[in-house]
């Protein structure tokens, strides 16, 4: 038997060796041979006729743009096709290229997104990405994105290059190379909070609406009692991190570092930004209180009993038609839900309906502005035509005609202008099939210079909140910080795992035993997973960068 086994092992290793020679020669190929072509175009604007006069565009190419979102079907797809045809006619004329959209559907989007990037087979050229919610930096480090040299940007995306200030380009660099083109000229707020029915809050005795977590408890209790058919918040089991983070920022001056792990467990405080700590290990009392309150919510019946097994939720759409009483998401979503748009039928069926927003951090006035790489465009390292991809992007972002086609669709079909120059929906508009804005998902280069204000939005409420934010906010302080996690990745993986498992139980009040016990257990598990080691390492890297 021994002989046989040795033979088997030997054969195996031989075959392995053979196969090893065969494979491997994939990837790499198209790196940065791009800059050579064309003359050195002096930035932009002056030469308005054709900035790419010297660029060879004789070959017609298809540029694929990858975005998260569900692929439209049926009539919606027809509307999109018609719009894309128009857009592609312009793109063909200007840069002899056309645009295709590659969708990463929302189910397991992050895994599929990363997997598509990892295949590097040239299926995608432009990649919509984000440093906080789409792993932009890990992918850049893994070699999925092409380094964008300054000459390259100047030559192929001159308008974008000129419009993004130098300090913002700095925030898009890793190891001295630019990887991302930031969406830095678009006002939006993506700090999370609870969107709720202001009219019902008033009925519950909260005259000015909800302004604290305790108010929320009262609100939910009232809703459950007064409207027994309504699930106050039909959450799926994935909101736990946002809830915990929201609680922390509502009860401390914690400012989190984004893009490290799903939980954003580390950060500094507003007064002391560059001393790293994790409130999840230090703010024990606060967490116990959180665990207690969530248990109370669970007992009230804020969410369904089996919420932890619920991975798909239609809560937002249910809110639009009045089937639920709250939605936990960010301000940008609130600006939609607060407005009497065609989709939000609660305002048609119930005259009194009003929507309020309780943002996390309201109690402690702890609001951090969005990092400019919350939306960004990158070029895939596997792209066959990185130059043309940049040219197309430059047009999409800066050419009014292209921008509006991509972002709003065809004028007269999907949108129109009213007498004030604001955006309205035309006669016979169907938001299910003609909302091109909701199909192209261009969140990686929106441009306030070209935005047409949406007349259906409730600007009064929105402007008021934005003004409030502007007074409170601090700028995101860690834009420059891209952590090197090579040595601590295994700790971070385990910590995320611990955090996810425990926080799910805590944030949905589904734990056994007392709040004190579960929090103690959670903190113990974090310690064992090495949270202190990670904190130390991050501090070391902080000191290197900021001191």
């Amino acid at each position: 038997m021994k002989k046989k086994m040795v033979a088997a092992l030997l054969t195996t290793s031989m075959v392995a060796g053979l196969a090893g020679c065969g494979s491997s020669a994939n990837s790499s190929s198209v790196a940065t041979e791009s800059t050579g072509t064309g003359g050195t175009e002096s930035s932009s604007t002056v030469d308005s006729s054709d900035p790419w006069a010297n660029v060879d565009t004789s070959e017609h190419v298809v540029i694929t743009y990858m975005t998260t979102g569900d692929k439209p079907t049926g009539e919606a797809a027809e509307t999109l096709d018609a719009t894309m045809e128009k857009l592609n006619a312009i793109l063909t004329e200007k840069v002899n290229a056309e645009l295709e959209i590659y969708y990463i559907s929302w189910t397991d989007y992050l895994a599929n997104y990363n997997l598509t990037l990892a295949s590097m087979d040239g299926t995608v050229d432009l990649v919509g990405t984000a440093s906080d919610w789409l792993d932009a930096w890990p992918n850049a480090k893994n070699g999925a994105f092409l380094e964008l040299s300054e000459e390259m940007l100047q030559t192929y995306a001159p308008q974008t290059w000129a419009s993004v200030p130098a300090e913002n380009w700095e925030l898009c660099k890793y190891d001295g190379e630019i990887y991302l083109i930031p969406e830095d000229n678009y006002a939006q707020w993506t700090n999370h909070g609870f969107i709720y029915r202001l009219d019902w809050a008033r009925e519950a005795g909260l005259e000015d609406g909800v302004h604290s977590w305790e108010d929320l408890t009262e609100y939910f209790r009232y809703v459950k009692q007064a409207y027994p058919d309504i699930i106050p918040w039909d959450s799926d089991g994935t909101q736990y991190s946002q809830m915990a983070g929201g609680w922390i920022s509502s009860h401390s001056d914690f400012v989190s570092i984004e893009g490290l792990s799903a939980g954003a467990l580390w950060g500094g405080t507003k007064d002391d930004l560059y001393t790293v700590y994790s409130p999840y290990t230090t703010d024990t009392e606060s967490l116990v209180e959180f665990a207690k309150m969530m248990k109370e919510w669970d007992e009230i019946g804020v969410w369904q009993t089996d919420v932890l097994n619920n991975t798909t939720s239609t809560n937002r759409d249910d809110y639009r038609v009045g089937l639920v009483a709250a939605e936990q998401h960010h301000t940008q979503t609130w600006t939609d839900l607060v407005s009497h748009t065609p989709a939000n039928t609660i305002y048609d069926t119930d005259e009194d309906a009003e929507t309020g927003f309780f943002y996390f951090g309201e109690e402690t006035q702890n609001v951090t502005a969005l990092s400019i790489t919350h939306g960004a465009m990158a070029v895939s390292a596997g792209s066959q035509n990185p130059e043309r991809a940049l040219m197309v992007y430059d047009l999409l972002r800066n050419d009014p005609e292209c921008y509006q086609l991509l972002c709003y669709g065809e004028q007269g079909v999907s949108w129109d202008l009213d007498e004030n120059g604001m955006r309205i929906t035309p006669e016979g508009y169907n938001s299910d099939t003609q909302n091109v804005n909701g199909m192209t998902n261009f969140w990686w280069g929106r441009n306030d210079d070209l935005e047409v204000k949406d007349a259906t939005r409730n600007w009064e409420a929105i402007d008021a909140l934005y003004a409030e934010y502007d007074e409170l906010k601090i700028e995101y302080p860690y834009g420059q910080f891209v952590a090197n996690v090579d040595n601590i990745q295994s700790y971070i993986s385990n910590i995320s795992e611990v955090h996810n498992n425990y926080m799910k139980q805590i944030a949905y009040g589904k734990y056994d035993g007392t709040a004190e016990e579960i929090v103690a257990e959670y903190q113990e598990a974090l310690k064992n997973a090495g949270i202190d080691t990670v904190t130390e390492e991050l501090q070391r890297q902080f000191d290197e960068l900021y001191k």
């Binding site: 046989k4 196969a19 590097m120 070699g143 792990s261 009993t305 795992e497």
Partner: protein, 315 residues
């Protein structure tokens, strides 16, 4: 007689001649050989990825070598023991109960005299095997969930207290084993049924003549004849004892961390931890760990079997 023939051919024929002689047999084997070569042997060098810090652009063999640091993650988690234990215990239950039940069903099927009933019941038992695990997960959820589940629907209509399985980790091992048995027994029993069909009819005739009753026939003829089949299937199954049934566990339990103490197996843990960070290297490290353990177990068990009953061992 056969042995003599083999010896003769060995002496007189060259390798090529032998190949030509058995060309039909070889041709029949070809698909299987090709399959294993392509999907089991070709990817083997990829094991290297478990020892590097994988970078998309440099590829598996161009990335930086980091030694065993990818294995640290599993050890650091402190869960290695619990996960391995869960995985092995579940698989052991699946193998033992699954095979016993399959043998039992096969014997029952064999005793059924009504041909139509036999065919129908065989098909019905066979069917669940072809249902996707995703659907099985949904079925289970719709049976058991608290608010709208089938079981609670019945309980509430009878005025009884509702059952909360999705908040109770203790009830899941039996549920998962049940679901597994429901899905796989029909399929597994086919092999045993075929083995029973292959038993020499003369022996059974003879036993009848000797006045053996039905149970004696089963006890002294059928079960002993099934023994080699059982042992070989058992050995095959043991090789995968550290490989958990990801589809089954992931679809039924999902991300409900409350149930993990009794239902988390290596696969589901690794899926969660590495899909979140998208780390191929650590995932492969775990795969390698499982393969090594599986290899050791197969070799050991085979050794033991060989000591006891040399004819039944695999190699």
């Amino acid at each position: 007689m056969e042995q003599v023939v083999v010896k003769k051919t060995k002496n007189n024929q060259s390798f090529l001649q032998k190949v030509y002689r058995s060309r039909v047999l070889l041709l029949m084997c070809a698909p299987a050989i090709l399959f294993f070569f392509m999907f089991s042997y070709m990817p083997l060098p990829g094991i290297w990825v478990a020892f590097v810090k994988y970078n998309y652009r440099d590829g598996i063999f161009g990335s930086k070598f980091v030694g065993l640091s990818n294995f640290e993650f599993l050890i650091n988690s402190g869960k290695l023991f619990e996960l391995t234990k869960n995985t092995i215990l579940y698989n052991l239950t699946f193998i033992i109960l699954g095979n016993l039940l399959a043998v039992f069903i096969a014997i029952l099927l064999n005793e059924i005299r009504n041909k139509k009933f036999k065919k129908v019941s065989q098909t019905v038992m066979f069917l669940p095997y072809f249902i996707s695990q995703v659907l099985v997960g949904i079925l289970v959820f719709n049976m058991l969930n608290y608010d709208t589940g089938f079981v609670n629907g019945i309980l509430s209509s009878m005025g009884m207290e509702l059952w909360e399985p999705y908040s109770d980790p203790k009830v899941w091992p039996p549920i998962i084993v049940l679901v597994y048995l429901w899905q796989n027994t029909g399929y597994n029993s086919v092999v045993y049924f075929a083995a029973i069909m292959g038993i020499d009819a003369e022996i059974i005739e003879a036993s009848k003549v000797d006045g053996a009753n039905c149970f004696q026939k089963i006890r002294h003829i059928i079960i002993p004849s099934l023994k080699p089949t059982i042992v070989i299937l058992l050995l095959f199954a043991l090789g995968g004892i550290v490989k958990g049934n990801f589809g089954l566990f992931y679809n039924i339990i999902g991300t409900n961390s409350l149930l993990f103490p009794t239902t988390d197996i290596i696969e589901t843990y690794v899926y969660r931890a590495t899909m979140a960070d998208f780390n191929f290297s650590t995932a492969s490290a775990v795969g390698l760990y499982q393969s090594v353990i599986g290899f050791i177990i197969v070799v050991t068990v085979n050794y033991i079997v060989k000591k006891i009953e040399p004819d039944y061992s695999l190699f």
